[in-house]
Every structure is written in structure tokens, then in C-alpha cells.
């Protein structure tokens, strides 16, 4: 059994900056604290440019050249039970860490593969680079890759000798997921795993991720702007805005009683397919530029609840309901008690001109 209170990943006060000039940089992620427990699935949600992908890449130290983790700790519990700070690792340690302990499924299945290498070569390169080189003979790779592809219901005889362009989008995404779990990582970070796929293919990927998680028991962090997907796959949700986590909690807390006006606004903006057609309101305005962050709560210029107080100082996450294993519901809003809801999914901002939502 897993030890109580021993998260698999513990992030403290993480800050990530991108260099934008010789002596200039912008902070893309700041003040992130996160405890992830084994087998959990966490969704990072928010609009484009809120820092979701940067945080996801940061968790594996896969940031592009200009990105740098400027402070914080990233403590992982490894498979052997020891703990290691990712930020203290050298190049060789990192190489062994990645894929064995934690792996990433990059955004855009369409472009994640090398177009001039067969799927087989992707498996061979990965296994040989991140594990014991001598063990992975051609036959061993074929056997392992075949097993992995079968777990995502792909036909190895068809897929392994193919080039990426010979596969459909859904097949590529499934092959990519199979590749990511090749060395049985404990943590899997998925960046927009279903974006750009067709509806029926999306549904298939969601089902397979459920199955794989049941079978392999990995911990999942996935980045999405699709709240429907978050509701489908996540036990926990963290909303990001302007580089900070502004609300975190269990999926039920977040979807049924959001306590940050931004989270409520995002949920309000989702168009339902089932039931009535409510008139929807969007969150007005655009996210702030990282170069010109508003003072105080970064959301205040778009917020219907904002008061003078919101403009004074940044607002920290305030615990609203204690729950075990990182499920604690916390929101960074001075007016969280005024964030309206009506019980169902149709949480409404108090400013909304539409009366209370009718929830079908």
C-alpha cells in the first residue's frame, strides 16, 4: 500500500520565466504549489496563454531553450521509494528519469512524430535511449511495441512498419500514448490529448486512457482547455490564470461549486449539447499580457466582482474545504463567497444579465 501523506510529486513555489531579450524576461508561471498522489488524475485548465503548457513542460524540465525554472522545488518519489529533486539532476540523471519515472504526450499528435521515421524506429529509439541499450534488440523492441500497441487496440503489423503520415490522427494519438507508457512511467503528462481529433475518435481516446490508467495505475496530469474532457477524465482540477493556479479542488467541487469567478466564467461559457439551450455569457475581455500584468489579482480587470481591494495585492489561495490527498478546495479570490451557482452545472456569475440558469 502507498504510504499515507506521501505524494508522488510535490511541487513547491515553482516559478518559470522565459527570456525575451538580453536582460529581459517574463514570468510565465509563478507560485505553483501542488501535491500529486499516486493514481490521481489532475486537469490543468484555462485559456490559451495562461501557463498550462509551460507548467506541464516544467514538471519534466522539458522547457524550450529560452524557458527557465527560476525558483522552487520539484520533488518526485521514484519507483524505488527514494525521493529526488528534479531541479538538482544532471543531464544523465534526467535522461534516466524521463520516460522511466515520468513521460510526456506532447500537444498535436499530428506533428509529434518524426515524419521520416517509421513508428517502429520511434519505439526503438525511445527504449534504447532511456533504458538499457543492449537489452533492446530488434526482436525485443518488436515484442514490447506490439504489446503496447495492442493495449491501445492498434494492429502492430499494420502500425509498426508505417510512417506517421500513413496513420490517421486517432491512430497517431494512440500510438503516441503507447509510446509514452513504454517504460511504465509513474507520472504521465498529456498536453491537449484530444484536441484536433474527431468527436468519435476523442471518445475512443478518453475510454482508452481510462482503461490504461486502470491497468497501469499511473498518475496523470493533463492539460486541456476543454472542460468536458476535464469532467470526463479528472479526479482533480486546477484552474490557471496568468501563470498562477487560482482555484484547485476535486472535480465535483470545481464543476458544481466553483469559488473563483474565472472558473465559474469558464464553466458558464461551455455550450451544452444535452438539454436546453441557455443563453451563454462569456468572460469579457482578454487575458493580460505577461509583460503588463495588472497589479493585485490579475483577473480584476475582467471580473464583475472586483473591488478596490482586489487591485492592491496579489490574492493567495484560500482553503475553503479541507480534503485528503491534495483534494482540498482552495480559491484565490477575496469574494469567493459571492461567486454564484445554482446547484447544477450552470453556475452563473452574479453579474450575468441572464437570470438564474435553467438546468435541464
Amino acid at each position: 500500500m502507498r504510504p499515507v501523506n506521501d505524494p508522488i510529486l510535490s511541487v513547491r513555489d515553482l516559478e518559470i520565466a522565459y527570456r525575451t531579450g538580453r536582460k529581459e524576461s517574463v514570468t510565465a508561471v509563478s507560485g505553483v504549489d501542488l501535491d500529486l498522489y499516486q493514481g490521481q488524475s489532475l486537469a490543468l485548465v484555462g485559456e490559451s496563454g495562461c501557463g498550462k503548457t509551460t507548467l506541464g513542460l516544467g514538471l519534466l524540465r522539458l522547457l524550450p531553450k529560452l524557458g527557465r525554472i527560476t525558483s522552487g522545488t520539484l520533488l518526485y518519489r521514484l519507483k524505488d521509494g527514494s525521493h529526488a529533486d528534479l531541479l538538482g539532476m544532471g543531464k544523465e540523471e534526467l535522461r534516466r528519469f524521463r520516460w522511466n519515472q515520468a513521460a510526456m504526450v506532447f500537444q498535436g499528435a499530428m506533428n509529434a512524430f518524426n515524419p521520416v521515421a517509421r513508428i517502429f524506429d520511434h519505439f526503438a529509439d525511445t527504449l534504447r535511449d532511456h533504458a538499457d541499450r543492449k537489452r533492446w534488440t530488434k526482436r525485443a523492441v518488436e515484442r514490447k511495441a506490439g504489446e503496447l500497441l495492442e493495449t491501445v487496440r492498434l494492429d502492430p503489423d499494420r502500425v509498426l512498419p508505417s510512417y506517421p503520415h500513413e496513420l490517421s490522427g486517432g491512430m497517431k494519438q494512440r500510438a503516441l500514448i503507447a509510446l509514452a507508457i513504454a517504460l511504465d512511467p509513474q507520472v504521465l503528462v498529456l498536453d491537449e490529448p484530444t484536441t484536433a481529433l474527431d468527436l468519435l475518435t476523442q471518445r475512443q481516446i478518453v475510454q482508452q486512457l481510462h482503461e490504461l490508467r486502470g491497468k497501469f495505475g499511473f498518475t496523470m496530469v493533463f492539460i486541456t482547455h476543454d472542460l468536458g474532457l476535464a469532467a470526463e477524465l479528472a479526479d482533480r482540477v486546477a484552474t490557471m490564470y496568468a501563470g498562477r493556479i487560482i482555484e484547485t479542488g476535486s472535480a465535483r467541487d470545481i464543476f458544481y461549486s466553483p469559488k473563483h469567478p474565472y472558473t465559474a466564467g469558464l464553466i458558464n461559457a461551455v455550450m451544452p449539447v444535452h438539454g436546453d439551450r441557455p443563453a451563454l455569457e462569456s468572460v469579457p475581455g482578454y487575458p493580460p499580457s505577461l509583460k503588463a500584468m495588472p497589479p493585485g489579482c490579475a483577473f480584476h480587470p475582467r471580473c464583475a466582482l472586483a473591488t478596490e481591494e482586489c487591485k492592491l495585492a496579489p490574492v493567495a489561495l484560500d482553503v475553503l474545504a479541507e480534503r485528503p490527498e491534495g483534494m482540498t478546495h482552495a480559491a484565490a479570490c477575496l469574494h469567493h463567497d459571492r461567486v454564484g451557482l445554482d446547484g447544477g452545472t450552470g453556475a452563473r456569475l452574479p453579474s450575468s444579465t441572464e437570470g438564474e440558469a435553467t438546468n435541464a
Binding site: 474527431d198 468527436l199 481510462h210 476543454d226 461559457a269 461551455v270 455550450m271 449539447v273 468572460v283 452545472t345
Partner: protein, 351 residues
Amino acid sequence: MPDPILQLSGLEQVFDTKKGKVPAVGGIDLDVEPGKVLCLVGESGCGKTTTARAAAGLTRPTAGRVAFRGKTVAQMDAAERFTYRRAVQYIHQDPYAALNPTRTVYSTLTAGLRRHRLVKSKGEARERAADILRLVDLTPPASYLDSYPHQLSGGQRQRVNIARSLAMNPELLICDESTSMLDVSIRVSLLNTLGRLRDELNVGFLFITHDLAVAKYFAWDGEIAVMYLGKVVEHGPTPQVIGDPQHPYTKALIGAVCEPDPDLARSNRAVSTLRSAEIPSLTDLPSGCTFHPRCPAFEGGLCDADAPPLQPVGGRRLACHVVARDHGRTDRGHGRPARRDGGGQVTTWSA
């Protein structure tokens, strides 16, 4: 009933490729009325965009006709074609690729106006451009007119795209996945803007999306046509098609949508009922109903024999042997046979 602004009748588009003939659109009949929305939904490769391109006159259909205000586009003279080009505008999917990066917003917005000689002076052009920016909620216009696309966000660029189309006083807007690359909150506000334009300016829409929620939201007072492998399989008023889907394909699409409701998602985690997840190739279409290899309602000898006609069933047009037969039975049970009309008339719904 007002006269349709756009009529597609028997529209076919076959592409000649090295691998043989690809029937991207295999004969569809659809109308768009002024101020109304017709939404085409379906998966990639079902012919949505090909249909839209033919409707915009960007390709010449291999069979059938596209008519604008009753005039066949292929037979228009130069003057009629000039009007058609002005009145029908196309909004592309990718707001990053659709704008010329070396042109300011002002220059992009007024290119069409100048081409169609709708403005006389530079001052007038600037005024018109400012008015249009206000129409798409880019205010104050002065702060956008001299910007380049790279200085704008995705949502702002898509608004400029729409503004460019509106500059021509269009009667029909063809939107090809125009909101699918945008964030949820921006998508809603853009759809609200488009809805206002539809109601205030009486613009008709041929709206293409793979997102059923967007289709439902935008086309609630209009119609939805579900396409599969180049054919329309279900077509009717939006509340009927989304609220009470009849075609097994429409049902599968609606069942696959993830809603932001964790409890619903958990209770709804049924395994997909489709017999196969992969779409057949257009170069090697299945016999009979092209959906039969994937269809949960498949009946051997019926579905793989003949292609089902698109016929009125239960307040919509539907192409499914099984549902049409079962519906016919219940109809007869009420002493009311299902009415057939072979003309593919969009405006007549059977009881």
C-alpha cells in the same frame, strides 16, 4: 417562406487523384434562407468544406448546381458574378493564416471595399473600417486600425476576419470552422456577435463545424445537416436533430460529447456502440449505406444492399433503412403513412 438565398441541388464534387476518383461530395440538396442558419456537421473528410467551397464558387462542382438568389452560379454573366462575389463571403478556420501579415487591419478591411469601388476616398474608407470594427466589438477602432495581425490575439484576429467579410455587406456568410481554434469564452462571445449580425443585418449563414455544441448554440432557430462520407444522412430543425436524433450516426456523435459534469460523465461511461471506429476511405466506399460497417443498427441484406434515400421521417429528412422502416410501421399504426417527396425539398417536413 422567403426565397432561399443559396440553393445546392444534386451537388457533386469528384476529385481526380492518382489513387482514383474521390467522391468528396456525393449529391446533396440543401437551401439557406436569408437571416437563417444552416449548419453542416460531421467528422473530418465528410465533405463539409468541399460543400462550402463549392457554395462560395471557389470550385466548380462536377455535377449539380449552386444557385444564388435563384441564379445558377456557373451561368452567371460578369456583372452577376461580381455581385455574387460581394454578397457571399467566406470566413476561414485559421485566424492566424487567413490574414496577410504585412497588411494593417485598415488595409485588410478596406481591400474589398476598394476593389468593389464601395468607397470614394481614403477618409471614407477609414470611417467605414472603423464602423465595421465597432460592429464586431473591436473598440475603440482607432487602437486596432493600424495594428498588424501579429499584434492581435487569436480571438481579435478572427474578429478582423469577420469584419473583413462584413465590409462587403454580405447576404450570406460561409463560416468554415470559424470558431474552432478559439478558447471557449472567446468562442461564446464571437458566436453571440455573429448571432447579432444574423438578426440585425439579416445575413444568412452556411456554418460548418465538427462541434455539435457550437452547432446547437448557433443554429438553434435554424437547421442542421449531418454529413457522412459526402452525403447528408440527417437534416432538420436543430432542436429536433440535436434533441431527438434519429440516425445512428447522429446518435453516436451526440453520445460522444463530453459535458462539463463529472457525475454525468461517470454514469455515462458506456462503451461506444459503434462496430468500428475507423472511417472507410472515400476511394473504397462500402456498398449500400456507407455507414453500415460501423452502424449498431446494421441489418444484413438490407443496409449493405442499397443506399438509403434521404426521405422525410419524423419531422426531418433521414437516410436510414432501419429507422425509416420502423417509423413507417408506427406511422401506419396511426393510420398515417409516411409521405415521400422525391424532390429533396428542404422546406417540407412530413408530419
